[in-house]
Assembly symmetry: C2
Homo-oligomer: 193 residues x 2
Amino acid sequence: MSTILNEVLAANAGYTADFGDKGKLPMPPGRRFAILTCMDARLDPAKYAGLAEGDAHVIRNAGGRASDDAIRSLVISYKLLGTREWFVVHHTDCGMETFTDDVMRKLLRSSLKTASVDASGWHDAGGGGGSPEGEHISWLTIPNQEQSVLEDVQRIRTHPLVPRDIPIYGYIYDVKTGKLIEVPAATQAGKAA
Amino acid sequence: MSTILNEVLAANAGYTADFGDKGKLPMPPGRRFAILTCMDARLDPAKYAGLAEGDAHVIRNAGGRASDDAIRSLVISYKLLGTREWFVVHHTDCGMETFTDDVMRKLLRSSLKTASVDASGWHDAGGGGGSPEGEHISWLTIPNQEQSVLEDVQRIRTHPLVPRDIPIYGYIYDVKTGKLIEVPAATQAGKAA
């Protein structure tokens, strides 16, 4: 068993030993809000936003982007589980600022090409030289944080399945200080009707 | 300003006041692993798996499903930020077990139909009666947890952009006890080559 797996299961045993009344929490978020934020390891939304178990939905992906899948999750969060306010939180020093779709495509193309001839550990996507997967994926990179928060709030705000009366707040988390910094244009764009 | 927004910003101020050395953490996850899990409010992956800030990527959506967007995030996690082990963690009493695509479509259809004539708060998707959005979305519902964990591990394992040498572990989080319960068939399917 890997060291990581052992460590995770040991930590989990500690958590369950002091689980208290948490087993009785209901399914719908008690504080009726949701946060969409980045998967970045430095971000702990429960800590930076003060969440206890049972409080709020947390949706995370690379960048904290308003992808179709994030919107699927938000619509379920609202429609079936009753959230009524949403946050979009990107952050400083995000990995998504460090590359472009072109860079990612080149990286993957080179990995995929070598997959059939060496031990790179990658599947061979196309019989060794065909059009590899990943050429047409949008990686949702971030050239500018304030702009990406604004765009994502706008995308959610104008999505046909999103109700007009949910306010959407746009913030950037500063990894140097832990502080949530508002993006006023995004919060403005996300105002409830 | 909403009560929730005030509470979140107050909690954030408390967090930043005692931020310590966390501002110096590097971008790549220190423990080189990633967890894909559900957005459910009762789940706190940092607590149930023992993560400190900087340790691991956390990807969350409705159900903890291996959607294209989750796989986008995992590929970035590996390729650019160096994770080498992944967990897929679904959970008992998941909201995704409580409905089907059909139910969701009917719910949305009825909301969208009324959007143009009452104050339901929904956008009108199609001029009041056209084909509404959401008819063709797969909501990634879960008829059976063990099966969904297995399917998602298999989907990641066989994805052409996922390297063969990353082990993928399949678990179910029990919301009554906090315990991580292995899905052996999933972990087996997720074995590294």
